[in-house]
C-alpha cells in the first residue's frame, strides 16, 4: 500500500486556492457574467436604477461605474470588469454600462469555443483582428461635424448631451439640462476644457428645473463670525482680493514664548500683537479691496473691521472654489499682504449673496474673463441630487469630448449593428477558425441593441430581426437604424431622431471591452492566497493575552 501514499509536496501556504486550466477560464467567464447581469438592466433610455446600501449610506444610481464600484466585487476575474468600467468613466465619462456588457458578452460568445477545445490564444487573436476592423469601420461611419457652423455645432453638442441624459433620472428634463451643460462647457477655455472648472453645487429643495447656471462662481456662505451681517451683500464691479492667509488675532509662531521682565513691557507686547493684525487689515483696505476671500479663517476681529469699512469677507473658502474664483475673476491668490497691489485683484460684474433653498449663497456673476461656470442643482431629496450630479457629470464629459473630437455616430444600437453586419460579411471571406471567432464578435456586438429593447419591455427577438433586415439592405438608408423605444414599430433611424454619441465613446468602449475579454481569456490559473487577516480572526475574541476561560481554575 505504501507505494500509493506518495508524499505530498507542499508548494504553497495552506489554504491557498489554486485552480487551473480550461475549467478556470470557464469559471472566470461565469463570474464575469454574474456581475454584468447586475448592471444589465440599467442600459438604455428605459434603464432602471439600482439602490445600494453600504453601511448607513444609500446610493441610487444608473451609472454603471458607480454601481460596480459600490458592489464591492472581490472575485479577481470579475474585478477586471470593475476596472474597465472605471477606466471608461475616467477616459470618456459615459458608456460605462455598455462597455461592461460588451465585455461580458464577448466572453460568453467565447465560452463554447473554449469548451470545445479551441486554444484561448486563437480566440484572442480573432477578437483582436475583429476589433481592428471594427475600429476602422467606426471611423469610416462616423460623421464629422467640425466643418459645420457654430450654430450647428451647438446643436450637435445638445443632441449628444441629451443622448447621455436619456437613461437617467433627468430624462424628462433633458432639454433643460443639455442647454445648461452645453452653456457651461462653452464657458471653458476651448483649448484645455478643464473639467474642474465647472463646479456643481447641490442644494436640496425646489424642483429640478429650478437648477440654474451661474456664469462665474457660486459657493455656500462660509462660517461667519459676529459682524458678518453688517457687511454689504451686493457689489457691482467689485475689487476682489483673494488670500491664503489667516486674518485673526493669534500668536504668530506656535512655539514662541515671550519672557516679560518688567510689568511695563506687558502692554507693549499686547499692542505689538494688535499692530500686526491691524497692519494686515489696513493694507488690504488701503489697496481698495471690496471683497476679501481667504482659504484660511477670517476671525471676528477682521470681520468687524471689514464690516466697519463696507467690505465683504468670507473665510474658509474651499480650495476648489477659490481656484474657480481666481479663474473667473482674473485675480491671483496672495499668501501675504506685503506688496499687495490692486493688480492682483480680480473683478466681476455683480456680486450678490442670495437665498437658495435653506442656504445663503455667494454668487459672482458676469465675470470678465470667465473661464469657469457653476451649476447649482436643485431637487427633492439628497439621493436625487447626487444622482443628478452624476448624470450631469456624464453629460459634461460627453460634451467636452465632442467639443474636442467633433465626430459622432448614431446611438440606440445602430452603430453596433452596422459594425456587426460588416464583420459578419467579412467573416465569410476568411478561412480557418478566425471565421467563427469574428462571427462571434459580430454576434456579441448585438447585445447592446438587444438589451436596450429588452429593458424597454419590447420583444427583443422581433426587434433584432427587423434591425438586421434594415441593416442588411446596406447603403446609407439602413445604416442608422436602431431601437426606438417610443414608436410602435420599435425601430427607427436614430440618426434622424438625434440619438447621437461621440465616436470617441464607442471607440473607447470597443477597445476596453475587447482588451478586458482578452485579458480574462488568457488567464489559465489563479493562485489565491488565504487572507492574511484570517489568522487574527481565528483567535478567541476578548482581551488579548487573557487565558481562555477554561484554563482558570
Amino acid at each position: 500500500m505504501s507505494q500509493f501514499l506518495q508524499p505530498t509536496i507542499l508548494l504553497l501556504r495552506e489554504g491557498t486556492d489554486t485552480s487551473q486550466g480550461r475549467a478556470q477560464i470557464v469559471s472566470n467567464i461565469n463570474a464575469v457574467q454574474a456581475v454584468a447581469d447586475v448592471v444589465k438592466s440599467t442600459l438604455g433610455p428605459r434603464g432602471m436604477d439600482k439602490m445600494i446600501q453600504t453601511g448607513p449610506k444609500v446610493t441610487i444610481s444608473n451609472d454603471g461605474a458607480t454601481i460596480l464600484n459600490l458592489l464591492e466585487v472581490v472575485h479577481p476575474a470579475a474585478r477586471v470588469l470593475v476596472d474597465i468600467a472605471k477606466s471608461q468613466d475616467d477616459e470618456v465619462g459615459d458608456g460605462t454600462t455598455s462597455t461592461t456588457l460588451l465585455a461580458a458578452e464577448l466572453l460568453k460568445e467565447a465560452k463554447p469555443f473554449i469548451e470545445e477545445g479551441i486554444h484561448p490564444q486563437i480566440v484572442i487573436q480573432g477578437y483582436r483582428k475583429a476589433l481592428e476592423l471594427a475600429l476602422e469601420k467606426l471611423e469610416g461611419f462616423s460623421i464629422n461635424i467640425a466643418k459645420d457652423s457654430a450654430q450647428d455645432k451647438r446643436d450637435t453638442l445638445l443632441k449628444c448631451a441629451q443622448t447621455a441624459l436619456n437613461s437617467k433620472l433627468l430624462a424628462n428634463t433633458k432639454h433643460f439640462f443639455s442647454e445648461l451643460v452645453v452653456s457651461a462647457v462653452e464657458k471653458l477655455d476651448p483649448n484645455i476644457l478643464d473639467r474642474d472648472l465647472i463646479g456643481i453645487k447641490n442644494v436640496t429643495g425646489g424642483s429640478v428645473t429650478d437648477s440654474f447656471l451661474v456664469d462665474g462662481v457660486a459657493f455656500k456662505k462660509t462660517f461667519s463670525y459676529a459682524g458678518f451681517e453688517q457687511q454689504p451683500k451686493r457689489f457691482e464691479n467689485p475689487k476682489i482680493c483673494l488670500l491664503n492667509l489667516e486674518l485673526e488675532l493669534k500668536s504668530e509662531k506656535e512655539n514662541a514664548e515671550i519672557r516679560i521682565e518688567k510689568p511695563e513691557e506687558y502692554q507693549s507686547i499686547v499692542d505689538a500683537e494688535w499692530a500686526l493684525i491691524y497692519e494686515k487689515l489696513e493694507i488690504i483696505v488701503k489697496a481698495g479691496a471690496q471683497i476679501v476671500l481667504s482659504k484660511l479663517p477670517i476671525g471676528d476681529l477682521a470681520t468687524q473691521y471689514f464690516a466697519d469699512r463696507n467690505i465683504f469677507c468670507a473665510g474658509r473658502v474651499t480650495q476648489d472654489d477659490l481656484l474657480r474664483v481666481q479663474k473667473a475673476t482674473g485675480g491671483q491668490v496672495q499668501t501675504t499682504v506685503n506688496g499687495l497691489n490692486p493688480e492682483t485683484f480680480g473683478t466681476c460684474g455683480l456680486f450678490e449673496e442670495v437665498q437658495v433653498g435653506a442656504e445663503r449663497y455667494n454668487l459672482f456673476k458676469n465675470c470678465p474673463q470667465s473661464r469657469t461656470a457653476t451649476i447649482v442643482l436643485r431637487g427633492g431629496a439628497e439621493q436625487f441630487i447626487q444622482e443628478a450630479e452624476r448624470s450631469l457629470n456624464d453629460a459634461i464629459m460627453i460634451v467636452r469630448r465632442c467639443f474636442k473630437a467633433n465626430k459622432i455616430v448614431a446611438g440606440g444600437g445602430a452603430i453596433e449593428l452596422e459594425i456587426s453586419r460588416f464583420l459578419r460579411h467579412y467573416a465569410r471571406s476568411v478561412t480557418g477558425k478566425t471565421q467563427y471567432i469574428v462571427n462571434s464578435y459580430a454576434k456579441a456586438l448585438e447585445v447592446i441593441p438587444r438589451t436596450i429593447a429588452e429593458n424597454a419591455g419590447l420583444n427583443s427577438i422581433e426587434i433584432m430581426n427587423k434591425l438586421r433586415q434594415k441593416h442588411a439592405q446596406g447603403g446609407e438608408e439602413g445604416r442608422w437604424y436602431g431601437v426606438d423605444i417610443n414608436g410602435a414599430s420599435g425601430v427607427c433611424d436614430t440618426h434622424s431622431s438625434f440619438v447621437w454619441e461621440p465616436t470617441l465613446v464607442k471607440r473607447n468602449a470597443l477597445c476596453s471591452a475587447t482588451e478586458a475579454a482578452c485579458a480574462i481569456l488568457s488567464i489559465d490559473e489563479t493562485v489565491k492566497n488565504p487572507k492574511s487577516d484570517q489568522d487574527t480572526k481565528m483567535k478567541p475574541k476578548g482581551q488579548p493575552g487573557r487565558p481562555p476561560m477554561g484554563m482558570r481554575r
Binding site: A23, V26, S27, A34, V38, S41, R46, M48, D49, K50, M51, I52, Q53, V58, I60, N62, E72, V73, V74, H75, A78, L169, N172, T204, G205, G206, S207, Y225, A226, G227, E229, Q230, K250, S251, N255, E257, I258, R259, I260, E261, K262, P263, E264, Y266, I269, V270, D300, L301, Q304, A307, D308, G357, G379, G380, A381, E382, Q383, F384, E387, A456
Partner: protein, 535 residues
C-alpha cells in the same frame, strides 16, 4: 444573495460578504419600496388639515415632543428604511424651500405610490407610469397657475397676509389664537422684509421661548430679547435712551496670544503689576463711560472685581452675550461691534429706546429686552405657553406661518386651500388623460385620483364622509366652473374657500406637487435593491 456554483460545485465569492447581502429585483423591489414609503405617508395622513391630529414622539433619551408638523414628525421617527428615508428628505426639502406644507407633500407622494402599485399590478412598465405622472404634473402645475389669484399684500392692513398665516396656523395646537399669532408673524416679517428686493432674511427674526404664562401672552418685541440679566443685582433694571456699547473683549487685562510668562524678581515689581492691573480696569471703565455709553454688553465675562467697579461707576453691564445675539443687537441698534477698548468712539454706540430686565412669573428667571431700537432690523417673538411641549409646538407653528408670509412677499399669488386647488387640478388632469393615446393615459388618470386623495384625506380627518363630500365638491366645481369649492372642514356652512378665506401660497402648492412627483419617479425607477441582510 444567492450563491452561484462553478462546474466543480465550488461556490463563487463574487462580492464581498456575499452571504450577508440581500438582493431584491424587479417587481419584488418595486413593491417593497412602495410599501415602505406608503407606511410613512400613512402615518402622516392623519395630521393633515385643520382637524389633523398630533403625534407624540419619544426620543431615545426620553424627550417627549408633540407635534403636527410633518417635517418634524418624520425627522423624529428616525426612519431606517432607505426608501422611506427618501420621503423624510422630501418633507425636509419642502421645509427648507417653503417651510409649510410638509405634511401635504408626503401624503401626496403616498397617494401617488398607492396608485402606482395598482398600475404595476396591471403590468404597466414603471417608467411608463413615471412618464405619465410627469406629464400629468406639468398639466396640474399649469392649471394651478391659471386658477391662482394675485393678492394685494398691502391692502386692508395686510389682511390677506394675516389670513394666509391663519390658514397655516389653523391645523396646529395654537389654532385657537391663530388670529393673534398670525398678526404677530405678519408684523415680524414685514419689519425685517426688504420689500424692494422681495427678500426676507429669516435670521433676523429671533424666536425665543419661555415656558409659563399662556399662549395669549406671546408677543412681538420690536427689538431683541436675550436670555441674560445684568451682571450685578444692584445695577438699574431699566436704562432709558440707552446708548449701547457692544464689546467683544473681556473686562480684564489684555492677554497676548503668544505664550508668555512674566518674571517677577522683587516685591516692588509685584506691587507694580498689581497696580497696573487695577489701572487697566479703571481705564477700561473710563473709556466706556467717556464715550457716552450708559450700558455695556460684553461677549465675554468679567470677574467680580470688574463687576464691582462697573457698579461703582454706574455703568450697567451684561456679560456672556452670545455671538449671534451680539450680531442681532448690532443690526437692530445700529451699533458697531468693538473689539478693544481703545477703539470705543461715540459713533460706534448703538441706540435703543430702553433696555430693561423683565421677570417672568414667580420664577427667578430674568431676561433682557432691548426695545425701540434705532433701526429696527431685527425683531423677536417671545412665545409663552403652559408647558415646554406647547411652547415648542407653537414655535414650529409660528415658523410655518412666517415662512408662508415670506413666500407671499416673494410671490403674491395664492390658491385656495381646503383641497379645492387639488380638486381643480384633478379635474383638469382627468380631462387631459382622455386626449393621450398611449399607455401613459392610465398613469395620468391615476395621478388625478392621487390628487383627489388630498381632499379625501382632509374630509376623513374632519370626520366628514370623505366620498360624499369630495363627490359633492367635485360636481359643484364642474357645474359652477368654480375652482374654489373645497371641503368645509370647519363646518362653516360654505364650501367656497374664498368665502372661508383659506389661502395657500401658489409656490407652496406648486412645490408640493413637483417634489412629490419627483420622488415618486425616483422610487419607481429602482428595480434592484442590494443591502445588508439585516435591513
Amino acid at each position: 444573495m444567492s450563491l452561484a456554483f462553478d462546474d466543480y460545485g465550488r461556490p463563487y465569492i463574487i462580492l464581498r460578504d456575499q452571504g450577508q447581502k440581500k438582493r431584491m429585483k424587479g417587481l419584488e423591489a418595486y413593491k417593497s419600496n412602495i410599501l415602505a414609503a406608503k407606511a410613512v405617508a400613512n402615518t402622516l395622513s392623519s395630521s393633515l388639515g385643520p382637524k389633523g391630529m398630533d403625534k407624540m414622539l419619544v426620543s431615545p433619551d426620553g424627550d417627549v415632543s408633540v407635534t403636527n408638523d410633518g417635517a418634524t414628525i418624520v425627522e423624529k421617527m428616525e426612519i431606517q428604511h432607505p426608501t422611506a428615508k427618501l420621503l423624510v428628505e422630501l418633507s425636509q426639502s419642502q421645509d427648507a424651500e417653503i417651510g409649510d406644507g410638509t405634511t401635504g407633500v408626503v401624503v401626496l407622494a403616498g397617494k401617488l405610490l398607492e396608485q402606482a402599485l395598482t398600475l404595476l399590478d396591471k403590468g404597466i412598465h414603471p417608467l411608463k407610469i413615471s412618464d405619465g405622472f410627469d406629464r400629468a404634473c406639468d398639466v396640474a402645475i399649469k392649471h394651478l397657475e391659471t386658477i391662482s389669484e394675485e393678492i394685494d399684500i398691502q391692502a386692508n392692513e395686510h389682511e390677506a397676509l394675516i389670513q394666509a398665516a391663519c390658514t397655516a396656523l389653523g391645523s396646529k395646537v395654537v389654532s385657537k389664537r391663530k388670529r393673534e399669532l398670525g398678526k404677530i408673524a405678519v408684523t415680524a416679517v414685514l419689519d425685517v422684509a426688504d420689500l424692494a428686493r422681495r427678500d426676507v432674511n429669516l435670521d433676523l427674526i429671533k424666536i425665543q421661548t419661555k415656558t409659563g404664562g399662556s399662549v395669549e401672552d406671546t408677543r412681538l418685541i420690536s427689538g431683541i430679547l436675550i436670555d441674560k440679566d445684568m451682571s450685578h443685582p444692584q445695577m438699574p433694571k431699566e436704562v432709558k435712551e440707552a446708548k449701547i456699547c457692544l464689546l467683544t473683549c473681556p473686562f480684564e487685562p489684555p492677554k497676548p496670544k503668544t505664550k508668555h510668562n512674566i518674571n517677577i524678581s522683587s516685591a516692588e515689581d509685584y506691587k507694580k503689576l498689581y497696580l497696573q492691573e487695577q489701572q487697566y480696569f479703571v481705564d477700561m471703565v473710563k473709556l466706556v463711560k467717556d464715550s457716552g455709553a450708559n450700558i455695556a454688553l460684553c461677549q465675554w465675562g468679567f470677574d467680580d472685581e470688574a463687576n464691582h467697579l462697573l457698579l461703582q461707576n454706574e455703568l450697567p453691564a451684561v456679560r456672556w452675550v452670545s455671538g449671534t445675539d451680539v450680531e442681532l443687537i448690532a443690526m437692530a441698534t445700529g451699533a458697531r461691534i468693538i473689539p478693544r477698548f481703545q477703539e470705543i468712539t461715540p459713533e460706534k454706540l448703538g441706540k435703543a429706546g430702553s433696555v430693561k430686565e423683565v421677570q417672568f412669573g414667580t420664577s427667578n428667571e430674568r431676561m433682557l429686552v432691548i426695545e425701540n431700537c434705532q433701526c429696527t432690523k431685527a425683531v423677536t417673538i417671545l412665545i409663552r405657553g403652559g408647558s415646554q411641549m406647547i411652547v415648542d409646538e407653537a414655535k414650529r407653528s409660528i415658523h410655518d406661518a412666517i415662512c408662508v408670509i415670506r413666500n407671499l412677499i416673494k410671490d403674491n399669488r395664492i390658491v385656495y386651500g381646503g383641497g379645492s386647488a387639488e380638486l381643480a387640478c384633478a379635474i383638469q388632469v382627468l380631462q387631459y388623460a382622455d386626449e393621450v393615446s398611449s399607455v401613459e393615459q392610465y398613469a395620468i388618470r391615476s395621478f388625478a385620483d392621487a390628487l383627489e386623495g388630498i381632499p379625501n384625506c382632509l374630509a376623513d380627518n374632519c370626520g366628514l364622509n370623505p366620498i360624499t363630500s369630495v363627490a359633492q365638491a367635485k360636481s359643484r366645481q364642474l357645474q359652477e366652473n368654480n375652482p374654489r369649492i373645497g371641503i368645509d372642514c370647519m363646518e362653516l356652512g360654505t364650501t367656497d374657500m374664498k368665502e372661508q378665506r383659506i389661502y395657500e401660497t401658489l409656490s407652496s402648492k406648486k412645490q408640493q406637487i413637483q417634489l412629490a412627483t419627483q420622488v415618486v419617479k425616483m422610487i419607481l425607477k429602482i428595480d434592484d435593491v442590494i443591502a445588508p441582510d439585516d435591513y
